[in-house]
């Protein structure tokens, strides 16, 4: 997916203006000429300048390209689906790992990813479970990371 530089430039310009606006309300330190807003303000100013240049460049290129080119992997259902599944898996982990616990969550996540990437059906669950248990062992026992037990709390080891 290729976005024309004009659009990226506009987004960045908006971001830098937003930063400049936020920074303008930062307090001034009495007796000093430089407060907490000075450095980010300077950066945002430079970013705004770069965004304007990028917009100019994008408009020049616009003559022979579209605003957004949907090409390559976005057009291939298989690749787009897998991209969404990967991102979805991370969301799944973020929201459900505490409730389900690491072992259940990790096994499901790996199994889904394996299935998406077309690992042999019979191998999916065993590999997912073994890998999860090995990772659990390394981090929970070895490095003492308190991975959540979740639903498996009653049988924790």
């Amino acid at each position: 997916m290729k976005i024309n530089d004009t659009l990226s430039g506009l987004a960045l310009l908006a971001l830098s203006l937003l930063i400049l606006y936020t920074v303008s309300s930062y307090p001034v330190i009495p007796g000093q000429n430089i407060g907490p807003g000075a450095f980010p303000g300077l950066l945002a100013g430079l970013l705004a300048l770069c965004s304007v240049l990028l917009i100019r460049k994008g408009l020049k290129a616009k003559k022979h390209e579209d605003w957004v080119v949907i090409g390559g992997w976005v057009k291939s259902w298989f690749h787009l689906r897998n991209f969404l599944i990967t991102v979805g898996c991370l969301f799944f982990y973020i929201y459900l790992s505490d409730y389900l616990g690491f072992i259940i969550c990790g096994t499901i996540l790996l199994a889904v990813m394996f299935a998406a990437l077309e690992v042999r059906a019979k191998a999916i669950l065993p590999i997912a479970l073994i890998v999860t248990l090995v990772i659990h062992f390394i981090f929970y026992k070895g490095l003492r990371v308190p991975l959540p037990w979740g639903l498996l709390m009653p049988i924790q080891w």
Partner: protein, 504 residues
């Protein structure tokens, strides 16, 4: 260098635990480098959450060893599949593949291995000889000089070797702005936290790096539509045969590559990729038989294979002495040093010299064990290249998740890898390089501190930035680098008339 300190460093390195860490990270680095699509930077990013649990010396040893190995083993898929395992091998991938087609895979890989090790040792010697002296000078630096050094480093990251300077600039500014998030600024004022308490102490470096360099690479693998590559040859002979002859035939190429690589490594912002491209070009220019380049000629591999490994050591010189990373790998390593309260800078040579000498020793050790372990990897190469990537990649994703979780035992880390992974993936798809951003994040705090301190010292008079002698020289070199592209663009324009599409 007193013997007592050296002895202490020996004890630090030749400890069974540290040696085990070195061995494991060497094997890990060789494996990751040999898999196309997994780069040396990714190897580092994946290691960092584990090093979080180690004392400083083994933590740094793990990173140093893994990267040195990964940079070499990136040559293996280059020679056998025509896909560089790491970007640093890209310069001579075609050359190595041509040699494989001619039945000389073992010469290509042997040259890659042996001259990588020699280049790495060369860079290490330069580092050992020069960094203590440089640290002496650095002790005299004040906030003005440091400010310019940081700007010089960042300018290097933006202006050297990037296709779009403008986009690199934007990436850098965004990195610097990320560094502004949180409470840790000279005024102690809470900035850009959007009311999230997780952001109060700033964005954690490790999950950010894992997101930028591991998750984004995973996404790139998942969306990669190239057909699976074919292995060009099954049999690889003795890779050390004929190496002595090459050494005698191309001593100058080896020396030139190592020296150029070290220099490029020292220059902040340009790393192994750059070193191998430039020295390959240089090798062709100085060669007696430039017409053979590209047809399976070993000379370029000798020179740029040495260059990319020597640049690794070179990149550590500014990293240790000034705390300014020479490439994205040392940027990650500096992040680790800060976490270990082993803040890089000239004071480390006075306060913890044994740690510095331990790092030197690790470099030497890593480049020596690279030879036998590299030989082993080449032996197993055809098997490693057949590792099912559709099984490997989800496992790496799982490691990213657990690694980022373990930094402060909350899913906030996982949220960060998701955010930075997707953002850097989209950025790279649109031609924004990611390396300047990570340099910006790592250097942002230091830059602001020195900027603010200098401004307060000078009562707001920016001219003071130019009046101290060293500061002035640093300022001049920075400005020259900044104006270089503008200058060449203007020169082209005057010489050839207005260009239809001026490159930014």
């Amino acid at each position: 260098m007193t013997t007592a300190v050296l002895l202490q460093a020996f004890w630090l390195v030749f400890d069974p635990y540290v040696l085990l860490v070195i061995l494991c990270s060497a094997l890990f680095g060789l494996f990751v480098g040999a898999i196309p699509g997994l780069s040396a930077t990714m190897a580092t990013a994946l290691l960092v959450p584990i090093t979080f649990f180690m004392p400083p010396v083994p933590a740094i040893a793990a990173i140093v060893t893994a990267t040195a190995m990964a940079i070499f083993s990136g040559d293996i898929p280059g020679a056998l599949l025509r896909i560089p395992g790491t970007p640093a091998s890209a310069a001579y991938t075609d050359e190595a593949y041509q040699m494989t087609l001619k039945g000389q895979a073992e010469i290509a890989l042997g040259a890659g291995l042996l001259f990588s090790a020699i280049g790495g040792l060369f860079g290490t010697i330069v580092m050992v000889l020069f960094s203590p002296a440089l640290a002496e000078i650095a002790l005299k630096f004040s906030s003005f000089e440091y400010f310019w050094l940081v700007v010089l480093g960042l300018a290097g990251a933006v202006f050297i070797g990037n296709t779009s300077v403008l986009k690199a600039c934007i990436s850098l500014l965004l990195g610097l702005l990320i560094a502004c998030i949180g409470l840790e600024n000279p005024a102690g004022h809470l900035r850009f936290t959007f009311g999230m308490k997780e952001l109060m102490s700033g964005v954690e470096l490790i999950p950010m790096m894992v997101g930028m360099f591991a998750v984004s690479e995973l996404l790139r693998y998942i969306t990669n539509m190239d057909p699976p590559p074919m292995i060009a040859t099954e049999k690889i002979g003795n890779i050390f045969a004929g190496m002595w002859g090459l050494l005698k035939k191309y001593p100058w190429a080896l020396l030139r590559g190592s020296a150029l690589g070290t220099i490029i490594g020292i220059q902040p912002g340009s790393g192994a990729d750059m070193a191998s491209w430039l020295s390959y070009a240089m090798s062709k220019k100085f060669s007696k038989e430039p017409e053979k380049f590209g047809t399976g000629h070993v000379e370029g591999i000798v020179e740029s294979g040495a260059a990319n490994n020597s640049s690794l050591a070179g990149a550590w010189i500014p990293a240790i002495v000034f705390g300014i990373p020479g490439d994205s790998i040392t940027a990650i390593a500096i992040g680790v040093l800060y976490l270990k309260n082993m803040n890089p800078g000239p004071m480390i040579f006075i306060n913890n010299p044994e740690n510095i000498y331990a790092i030197f020793l690790v470099f030497i050790l890593a480049n020596i064990i690279m030879v036998p372990l590299g030989w082993l990897t080449v032996k197993l190469a055809t098997k490693i290249l057949r590792v099912k990537r559709n099984i490997l990649m989800p496992i790496i994703l799982m490691f990213c998740i657990v690694g980022s979780f373990s930094i402060n035992n909350s899913v906030w880390g996982v949220t960060l890898i998701l955010f930075f992974g997707v953002v850097s993936f989209i950025f790279e798809e649109n031609g924004f390089p990611v390396a300047p951003a990570i340099l910006g994040v790592v250097l942002g705090t230091m830059m602001e501190e020195n900027f603010v301190t200098s401004m307060i010292k000078s009562d707001g008079d920016p001219l003071v930035f130019f009046t101290r002698p060293i500061a002035m020289w640093l300022a001049i070199s920075t400005i020259v680098i900044l104006l270089w592209p503008v200058g060449t663009w203007a020169y082209d324009r005057i010489k050839n008339g207005p260009a239809p599409e001026p490159s930014q």
